[in-house]
């Protein structure tokens, strides 16, 4: 095997490996700012410079492949000085606003400055005078804090294929903004939040709505209800020192109760209801020929927005189901309100999501007020919940676990796995099988839906017929799938798949744009593992086995796709222009 030398230590190298990666194997930590493990190196900061020992030539560790025989020095007085100088330069064009910044204590730039003792700022300030863009209400852009590392642009263009963000101008005026300096709200942005999840600084962050929640919590006339999404429970712990993937559901419920929420529900329950509706929708289309195939999932709002903007020829294929938290919201203000005899006007529903797009979804259309009031009042991200817990004075590490309110809070393993790519599909298969054959599968695990491959496909026999499915995550992977569907349609052929799941974020919601920072594939897998572990451990693995869901249909909705469920749990889609200006 080929080898090289780093700081005098020999290291075995593999082809294509960068100096940064090789150094890591020796516990050598080279500082980086622009490089994100998820993304190709943009080589935009110059912090990671290292030297070739013999020549003294500097190279960037993040993007330079390490060659056999290379002898590299990663630290010496000059390199430290150069890095510090570069940081001072960066800070001369960066506002000194850590204390009031969403990234305070959780900022890659701040950490570097602390590590490198950036103590004096003697260079004149070059902070540009560009206003914050808060127009779309989901993510906000503060170009003054941008270090033009390019991560967000790479994510938005290459990973997500949305092309909302771009680099404009050049030199010192280089900035990130939607094409032509229009506002985010006028741009094609689908609010997936992946840019914010990858930004090393506070230049793109979620729009914070925690104050709205506190305002309701102190209002004695308001009945506050909370729900958490599947993916939140395996990620929130990271903000409190738990290992990624640790399931902290019970602690979250307990925190809600301490904060003063009157009822604590779970979006997983909504996921079970979604499966009842969507599964039935699938059976209608697949077994009874009522509607276009493939059926495409609709529980991801960023995907819905993307489809409405870029792929609206697919509207007939879309499941009309709302996303799970919207279902819980609608049922809270109708079913639960009626049972508890609470005026729905007084109910405030908070949903905690891994997601920034849900902030948009709660206001998406009149369908999101099916109860007569906005079904979900405010949606906050996992990151915001972490801050609220801290503000509430809760010692999250030690708080004993609590239970949800079961009526809209009890859930199955099928609901849990919604949070990982392929989970919706796996859950749907479990129930569709039952709906068609009247029996549960002997083994409810459909492993081919799992994992981080961009597009996963598979097929199975159901009552003598082949069901073909596809799962895509990361919007950049969608077009390939859609194009195949279009091609088959144009040629009058059988659809390549009968059921397609799409999640906007790479890895699905576990990798959502509102999750704790530092997401990598490793982390996505760990979080997903947390979900599959819970699924494996639950009493009920299939949504249709959830007794509370059965109760809901018996007591309230009648049956899936009934008129009432159509009114409360389903929605419509429209074409939207990609650019509003």
């Amino acid at each position: 095997m080929a080898s090289a030398i780093i700081n005098g230590m020999p290291v075995e190298i593999t082809p294509g490996e960068t100096i940064l990666e090789a150094a890591k194997k020796l516990s050598v930590k080279i500082p980086v700012l622009c490089k994100h493990p998820d993304l190709d190196a943009t080589a935009a900061c110059g912090i990671c410079v290292v030297k070739i020992k013999a020549t003294g030539r500097t190279l960037r560790a993040c993007c330079t492949p390490i060659d056999s025989g290379m002898d590299i020095v990663t630290e010496d007085a000059e390199l430290v000085q150069v890095r510090r100088e570069v940081l001072e330069l960066i800070m001369s064009k960066h506002p000194n606003e850590c204390v009031t910044c969403a990234r305070n204590q959780n900022c890659e730039l701040q950490t570097l400055c602390a590590d490198f003792d950036i103590r004096h700022m003697e260079l004149p300030s070059l902070v540009p005078d560009i206003a914050k863009d808060t127009s779309n209400g989901t993510i906000e852009l503060d170009p003054r804090k941008c270090v033009t590392c390019g991560r967000c642009v790479q994510v938005c263009q290459e990973k997500q294929n949305v092309w909302a963000l771009s680099f404009l101008d050049r030199g010192i005026d280089t900035r990130i903004a939607p094409a032509g300096d229009i506002s985010m709200a006028e741009s094609p942005c689908v609010s997936c939040g992946q840019c914010s999840a990858h930004c090393p600084t506070g230049a793109i962050v979620e729009c914070d709505e925690t104050q709205k929640v506190w305002d309701k919590l102190i209002d004695p006339d308001v009945v506050c209800v909370a729900q958490i999404a599947p993916a939140v429970r395996v990620a929130l712990g990271e903000a409190f020192g738990f290992a990624p993937g640790t399931n902290v559901t019970g602690k979250i419920y307990a925190s809600f109760r301490r904060m003063g929420f009157k009822a604590v529900f779970d979006t997983n329950y909504g996921a079970d209801v979604t499966i009842m509706e969507e599964g039935t929708e699938f059976v209608e289309r697949f077994a009874h020929g009522k509607g276009a195939l493939p059926l495409i999932t609709s529980c991801c709002p960023a995907w819905v927005d993307f489809m409405e903007k870029y792929h609206n020829d697919m509207i007939p294929h879309f499941s009309s189901c709302k996303s799970p938290h919207e279902m819980v919201g609608a049922l809270t203000k109708t079913y639960w309100a009626e049972r508890e005899k609470i005026d729905p006007k007084k109910i405030f529903v908070l949903s905690v999501m891994p997601c920034t797009a849900k902030k948009w979804e709660v206001r998406r259309s009149a369908d999101m007020s099916s109860s007569g009031y906005q079904d979900v009042d405010v949606s906050i991200t996992t990151r915001e919940l972490a801050r609220m817990i801290k503000q509430a004075g809760i010692d999250f590490a030690t708080i004993p676990e609590a239970q949800p309110d079961h009526l809209l809070g009890a859930y199955t393993g099928a609901g849990t796995i919604f949070g990982a790519t392929g989970g919706v599909m796996e859950a749907a298969i479990r129930s569709a099988l039952f709906l068609i054959t009247g029996k549960n599968a002997a083994n409810p695990n459909f492993e081919f839906t799992r994992g981080l491959k961009g597009i996963k496909t598979g097929s199975m026999q159901v009552a003598g017929k082949e069901v073909r499915i596809a799962v895509a995550h990361g919007l950049g992977n969608v077009e390939t799938v859609l194009d195949e569907i279009r091609k088959a349609k144009a040629e009058g052929k059988e659809p390549p798949w009968h059921f397609v799941e799409v999640m906007a974020c790479p890895g699905g919601c576990v990798g959502g744009g509102g999750q704790p920072y530092g997401v990598t594939d490793e982390l996505r897998l760990k979080r997903a593992k947390g979900l599959y572990q819970e699924d494996g451990a639950t009493l009920w693995r299939c949504s249709h086995d959830n007794p509370y869901v059965q109760q809901l249909y018996k007591e309230y909705l009648g049956k899936p796709l009934s008129e009432k469920s159509h009114h409360l749990l389903h929605t419509h889609y429209v074409q939207r222009p990609t650019y509003r200006r």
Partner: protein
């Protein structure tokens, strides 16, 4: 066409030209517009010749830049059996007189009778401006009809392509170029033969050969001169290179600010294609090669290889890290070889006359000749070509004629925004990659700016910095922000508000830029500052608030 047809074509052209008694070769560059006329110089002379009734005896030929731009507009009158006469600093009146009183009589085999005024505008070819030059790259510039393939063939054109394609293997071509010692003229001075060899070795179904004609150094116009005056010479270099590296696709990336160069190159490509010198089966061999023009759009950084590649792919011209080098991953990730215009113009002569002939010129490590764009306070501004190793003073004083205003020369600046100053006390230094580098400057692409006593070094330093700050692509922090902060400091010093501490801070920023910038632009942007501080610290100190003005060393000015 078959190889032998080159001779047929040359013979036909020779016969055609033999019918004329005289030729007016006029610089058709944009700069050489005759004051007071609205037509091109060529059209003006054609009209005058027609009016004189000499259209069948006098040929009017549009050439490229003749080199002596400061004496433009220029026309060269050639008569069989007589020395050429150069008419300089013409205007419409003088141009008319030139035709009436000189060209017409000559054409009619009578004695020319220029009046005293016209006589003042005749420059003998023995002028040291010409006598001290050695022209390889510029050899055709003064006489060639830049718009005629046939004229180029008559001048020996495409014989090198013929030799390479019919009598040499690609390996032999690479070996020949390697042996010649030719180094890239675009700035970095990398061995051209070696670069070709590396690219030739990379396997790939499609390979690209790119001519870098982005010439962004402000104050340099060598490449423009060659493209406008001798476009086929560049194409010939590309074809030979493509053959050596087994490439089928060529791109000429030309600055949009050079419309005439674009026009001439496009015309040359069309003509070469029509004649079977480009395209499928070149000169009847099995070798295929085609090329197209792509325009820049006003971004200096696009001269950098990886930025140029991005630009060719229709993207922002931001550099990317190397490795991977273009030789393995270039345009569309295909193996790509990028060469400068002047580099390519050297290829055909090397193939025709042999590596030994070429290597006989120059110094140990710098072979051949170098074209310089000599400008600034020198008397004879223009394009000059000298063998490598020629002392700076020969260029500045003999060819350039010293200053026009009688002031003393203080220094030259070479290498443009990546280069440095060389004070007059070092003017014995021969020009070569290695010698200029020893002095803390670089050869660069060939800009040579002459500064006199009145020019402020602080101001020129500021000028170059302003340029690199303007042209920084903005991708990486050291260059994007460092350049701007450095400029702010130099600005402050220039205004008299600077302190000693500012100079220290400037040096620190310079180091960060040199060490941590991604591409050559940022890495070399501090050079003008550092070399100015090295040789002309006193000029900076003189402006400091807290600095005592050290007396200027007497030796600095000549």
């Amino acid at each position: 066409m078959k190889p032998e047809e080159l001779e047929t074509k040359a013979a036909a052209e020779r016969e055609k030209q033999a019918k004329f008694v005289a030729t007016i070769a006029c610089c058709a560059s944009a700069g050489c517009q005759l004051p007071g006329t609205l037509t091109t110089t060529t059209d003006f002379f054609k009209q005058k010749v027609k009016e004189a009734g000499a259209a069948d005896k006098v040929r009017v030929v549009p050439t490229g830049c003749m080199g002596l731009c400061s004496k433009g507009p220029i026309a060269r009158v050639q008569t069989a059996g007589q020395p050429d006469q150069l008419f300089v600093e013409l205007n419409a009146d003088l141009g008319g007189k030139m035709v009436a009183d000189y060209v017409k009589p000559v054409a009619e085999k009578a004695a020319p009778k220029p009046d005293a005024e016209l006589a003042k505008h005749i420059l003998p070819a023995s002028d040291p401006f010409f006598a001290k030059q050695t022209k390889v790259v510029l050899k055709n510039m003064e006489t060639l009809n830049a718009e005629s393939l046939d004229d180029y063939i008559l001048a020996g054109g495409y014989q090198a392509v013929r030799k390479a394609l019919t009598r040499m293997t690609p390996e032999q071509v690479v070996a020949e170029i390697k042996a010649s010692g030719l180094r890239g003229r675009g700035g970095a001075g990398f061995s051209t033969g070696l670069k070709w060899e590396l690219t030739a070795k990379v396997k790939g179904d499609v390979k690209y050969v790119i001519c870098n004609a982005d010439e962004g150094d402000p104050g340099a116009f060598m490449d423009r001169g060659v493209l406008e005056g001798d476009p086929h010479a560049v194409l010939e270099g590309m074809i030979i290179g493509a053959y050596a590296m087994n490439s089928t696709n060529g791109i000429l990336y030309i600055r949009a600010e050079y419309p005439l160069a674009v026009e001439r190159v496009e015309r040359a490509i069309r003509a070469a294609k029509a004649a079977g010198l480009l395209g499928k089966g070149i000169l009847g061999t099995a070798f295929n090669f085609d090329c197209e023009v792509r325009l820049g759009a006003g971004a200096f950084v696009c001269g950098e290889e990886t930025a140029l590649i991005a630009s060719c792919e229709g993207k922002r011209g931001t550099p990317r890290p190397r490795p991977p080098y273009p030789a393995t991953k270039g345009v569309w990730d295909k193996p790509t070889c990028i060469n400068n215009v002047e580099t390519l113009a050297n290829i055909a002569p090397i193939i025709t006359r042999g590596a030994e002939w070429f290597a006989a010129m120059g110094t140990e490590k710098s072979k051949g000749t170098k074209v310089f764009a000599l400008t600034g306070k020198v008397k004879n501004n223009g394009l000059v070509e000298v063998p490598m190793g020629t002392p700076i003073k020969t260029i500045v004083y003999d060819i350039g004629g010293g200053t026009a205003n009688g002031r003393k020369v203080k220094a030259i600046q070479t290498g443009g925004p990546s280069g440095g100053m060389i004070p007059a006390q070092y003017f014995d230094t021969p020009v070569s990659y290695e010698h200029l580098q020893q002095l803390g400057s670089i050869m660069g692409s060939g800009g040579m700016i002459v500064l006199d006593e009145d020019d402020s070094i602080v101001d020129l330093t500021r000028f170059y910095l302003e340029f690199t700050v303007d042209e920084s692509c903005g991708k990486c922090a050291p260059c994007r922000i460092g350049g701007r902060q450095l400029l702010t400091i130099v600005d402050k010093i220039a205004k008299g508000d600077g302190t000693r501490k500012d100079i220290e801070t400037a040096k620190k920023i310079c180091r960060a830029m040199q060490r941590a910038s991604l591409c050559g632009l940022g890495q070399t942007a501090p050079n003008p500052v550092l070399s100015a501080l090295k040789y002309f610290m006193h000029e900076f100190e003189a402006r400091l608030k807290d600095g005592k003005a050290a007396p200027a060393p007497a030796s600095v000015t000549k």
